[in-house]
């Protein structure tokens, strides 16, 4: 294959990779395909073909500080660049930037159901969902909502802002369909034989910093450790579809959605 043909072939494949990484109905729309094309053109070199970051730039899919930004913020960042070194892309035109923002949301929202949702569209009960979150479903044994919960998994306070109910329920019943978890849980064994398991916050040649489930930090010298092992997998249980009813799943999802949309912003003059 000649080089030009190969490049074209690779471009098409890359688009397929990006689009197939998120085979939602949205990604197949004309704007989704255009967004994928523009993404490959302008963004993939630094942010990775799947949006999950590369050597040079952050993950757009898993990084909270990107996910929780508004569309206006994302537009501005692409348009103006950042102080951290992202170049400005104002020259590609506002229409293209809007297409990119739309495409970013497709990347962030993950997979779509292969079948249409079975549930009737009645909103779940957020109060029941809260009780489940902190009770029977034991989500708070690992996750946090608004400062309450544990530290072995991600903070879900803003999760409901950019995930709809279906996406939240899918993430609960089929968590391992998502790609790599955003936290790494490691186990360390000291040279004295003690072991500790927690989320890895930082590591380098000299130190390992862990946070255990209760939020406490262990700031360790690597020279004192005999072993550091990484399970490489999410700790999220895989059987919530059996443990919780569809109604309960909706309740939890509605709790997350409402908590995120409720304005934590209080105007003290009111």
């Amino acid at each position: 294959m000649r080089l030009r043909e190969m490049r074209g072939y690779l471009c098409v494949c890359a688009i397929c990779v990006v689009v197939s990484g998120s085979p939602s109905a949205l990604a197949q729309t004309p704007s989704g395909i255009l967004g994928a094309r523009r993404y490959l053109q302008f963004c993939a070199a630094c942010h990775g073909s799947d949006g999950r970051g590369g050597n040079k730039a952050a993950s757009l899919v898993t990084s909270d500080s990107v996910r929780t930004r508004s569309d206006e913020d994302l537009f501005r960042i692409i348009h103006d660049g950042t102080a951290e070194g992202m170049p400005a892309f104002a020259q590609i035109g506002e229409d293209n930037i809007r297409v990119l923002v739309h495409f970013l949301r497709i990347l962030q929202n993950g997979t779509a159901p292969e079948k249409p949702p079975q549930r009737v569209a009645i909103a779940g009960d957020p109060d029941a969902g809260s009780a489940l979150f902190f009770g029977k479903a034991q989500c708070a044994s690992c996750h946090r909502m608004q400062g309450k919960g544990r530290y072995i998994a991600s903070d879900l306070t803003a999760y409901g802002r950019i995930h709809n109910v279906d996406a939240i329920v899918r993430a609960i019943v089929d968590p391992h369909a998502q790609s790599t978890p955003s936290v790494r849980v490691v186990t360390v064994t000291t040279k004295k034989g003690q072991t500790l398991t927690g989320v890895l916050k930082n590591e380098d040649n000299f130190s390992v910093d862990l946070q255990t489930q209760d939020g406490r930090y262990f700031l360790l010298d690597r020279s004192q450790l005999a072993r550091v092992s990484d399970s490489g997998r999410s700790l999220m249980p895989r059987d919530y579809a059996q443990v919780l009813s569809p109604r309960e799943l909706d309740d939890i999802a509605e709790f997350l959605r409402l908590a995120a949309s409720k304005t934590a912003l209080m105007n003290s003059e009111q």
Binding site: C142, G147, N202, S207, D214, L219, A264, M266, E269
Partner: protein, 550 residues
Amino acid sequence: MTAVALLLGMHAPSAPSQTGRATQRNPSALASQSQDKQVGLIDVTQNDLLQKPPAGDWLSYNGDYTGARSTSIAQITPNNVTHLAAQWVFHAPAVSLLEVTPVVVAGIMFVTSANDAYALDAKTGNVLWHHARALTQGLVDDAGQHHNRGVAVLGTHLYMETDNAHLLCLDARSGSLIWDVAYATGNRNYGATSAPLIVKNEVLVGTSGGDDGVRGFLAAFDAATGVEKWRFWTIPAPGEKGSESWPSDTYLHGGGTTWMPGTYDPKLNTLYWGTGNPSPDYDGSVRPGDDLYTSCLLALDPDTGTLKWYFQFSPHDLYDYDAVQTPVLVDARFKGRFRKLIVTANRNGFVYILDRTNGKFLFARQFAQTLNWAKGIDNTGRPISNGLVPDEKGVQVCPAAGGATNWYAPSYNPVTHMFYFRSFDACALFKSTTEAFEEGRTYYSTGTRGEGNGKGYINAFDLRTLDFAWRNLQIGPHKGWGGIMSTVTGLVAYGDDAQNFVILDGRTGIALWHFNVGQLIHASPMAYAINGKEYFAVAAGSDVFSFSLP
């Protein structure tokens, strides 16, 4: 090495199973032994905040409620300080000139950089979490520079201000946002550049914008819920005491902002908070009279925000002489009698001693080596003004608008009995024309020129002799903005007018050690200890440096 907890029971779930679920979802198996004040365990009590002077932790901007910035950690002494070495550097990307004083809790350091907060391993400088928030566009003056002086902590919560005067409550263990309160609305020129102060179960915050025509205030919020408890306006409304200075709606733009943290005496249950200059800065024609409560020290009841007493350093100020410099609480002998004092060096060129039980003026001494705006201070504490009024042509006034001292921290050391502070001697041409207030613009009416050629000093004022023990002229290419701290072993640490972090013998002023950090130190240093090992840390340029003995 820090202690490693014993792992109890099973962990690391494998394949899902009915029997395995309880372990997977009930990871109490991961619980660690709980011990008092272990490294890595963040939980600050109100009792912790009452400890003075700071020991291993540095729990607030000024270290403790007295504002003395004098650590009791005794590992580093005049005999071994020459061995001090840099341990690590943290680089904060959001701004180029940090103004933060780090806070350290249980071996974890918290710093802010513009609207971002970071938790660092204080032994290594590695980042444990980072809370990011975009800079606010369209702010004026100091808020538009996105300065941020740091955090406050209570329990497992961390509090910080944003450039657009929001108070954030973050989970100190993860950096996640718990609540966000917009606390200064109604005027686009409000901003915030300070660090909050925790008193009891309240978070106290002020604003910037005192040169931009805002109405200053100090506000208290419930630390758990973010609900406002009280607000004290520094500019009185029509009909209130002092309102004769503020005709019509000028009180809405009177300045008097509370842009630096104050101090607190728990036994007297009194907050001490300085206020900024009146607005517009150089045009006094629109604000006749003393302009209460600008350029004042306020003594407030922390439970209600009620004013107990006030002392005004510069009535009807025309030269931008803020009074937000730390009102340091000192218990010491004054003229033979043991008293509860406030010692403070003011922007107007005088160092003051007040009785903090009632605000009584006790003493003032001119420290600005060039000063022409007043003849002196009378026996009530009121300046005898020389009546220099800025006008269209310009009037030469000393000190210049930047003041004979500014926000950089002073320190009082109970071992040397000395009050250490930085000063700057300069004059400027002050010009004024009456202008209208406009949102989105500063409100100086109009400006100054010629402050550049000044001389900086680090001063040691001896409270026993009421005179200067030494005054060190600072040599360097820049006007220095580095603040000071001191130690129980008699050391004084500060950033100089070049790029050095310096440690002096506090008794003599002789330099014992210095380190070129390669950038301007525009912040005040602090000290902390982890398992008995003492560190100094200071923000310099866009970085935070930490030093200790090898």
